[in-house]
Symmetry: C2
Subunit: 179 residues, 2 copies
DNA sequence: AACGATACGGAGCATCGTTCCGGTTAGCAA
DNA sequence: TTGCTAACCGGAACGATGCTCCGTATCGTT
């Protein structure tokens, strides 16, 4: 179906992905597109041809980790001691993912809303739904709502920020889910 | 101490405040500064002389409401049936404030971090601390942490958005505070 | 080797926040 | 009333950023 790309195109795509990952770690996901292009040693046009929008680039960079998180849901449901435990552990995984990427949470409901949500959430919400179902908590929150709430709580949590521990707050939120 | 301003300056300041309030309601707090200047019928220079930074303008526009919220804390502690109740009610007030201003919550931890935090949080955190103290919850969260968490949960809550009810999530967070 | 399809680079456009400065005016003193 | 000056005003201009466009270079096939 998909036409095979030219060799230089394939090479550049990988180069860009690597450069983007590096820049995201160094300067956060808000890093100027120009910086990424420079780091990769390519022009602006190249970056936008491969990733039509900043959101597409972010999605591509983190796709693997999102997949892993999605896959962990059903797995936890099997191995954890209870559905509640599974949900709690899964949320922890999600929080870890967000907190370790500078500003990823912040960008998750900013402008790139459309594409980022379309992927991140569409991929993870069903998993969340399954876990909530198993825990019998569907009446308390809708899956999307919970995901967005957790995502929001992770904003500004720079992992080493002593003034704001997103994990603790998310823990309280989950705790509130059982009252 | 402060020198009396010129008549035109005082007039423009009020004009700007009104225009800003109107534009914020219509287009959210992220509205371009140019729009506000245009609405007020003044130039860019004027706006920046009165309010050195966008954050200063926002603070000025919402100062009254923040003061009211701060004042409500001690009052609730007197009238509510319990310290927990007082805390819960006060948080509701704070959430209402944020949710009814398009995007205010979102801007509260973006870039204007410095000035906005310096005012909004410095003003409200002590009140929150007092309420937490009265409720005996100081071991569960630090006041600043709770405020930021609640603020974050309000991001993207457009008051009429059926997919995201910030009030419910904040409710769960507070509920989790008693487990 | 030649040629058409595809990709590349980076100048260019539009939008924002913010700064700067020449022209204007309020408020006061003579 | 008339000047004078400090304070104020307007908006052009600057730097940063996201994104588009198109002439040029390169690939892969004939």
């Amino acid at each position: 179906m998909s036409k095979p790309k030219r060799a230089d195109a394939r090479r550049n795509e990988k180069t860009l992905l690597d450069a983007a990952a590096a820049v995201f770690v160094a300067s956060g996901v808000d890093a100027p597109v120009r910086d990424i292009a420079a780091k990769a040693g390519v022009g602006m046009g190249t970056i936008y041809r491969h990733f039509p929008t900043r959101a597409d680039l972010i999605v591509a960079v983190y796709r693997h980790q999102v997949e892993a998180c999605a896959a962990a849901g059903p797995a936890l449901l099997e191995t954890a001691s209870s559905p509640h435990e599974a949900l709690s552990r899964w949320i922890d995984l999600f929080v870890d993912f967000l907190v370790t990427k500078h500003g990823l949470a912040g960008v998750l409901q900013g402008d790139g809303f459309a594409t980022l949500h379309a992927y991140f959430l569409d991929r993870l919400v069903p998993v969340c739904a399954q876990l909530l179902e198993a825990a019998g908590l569907t009446a308390k929150v809708r899956p999307l709502e919970l995901m967005r709430g957790v995502g929001n709580l992770c904003i500004g949590a720079e992992d080493d920020n002593p003034d704001y521990d997103a994990r603790r707050l998310v823990g309280l939120l989950i705790a509130g889910l059982r009252a």
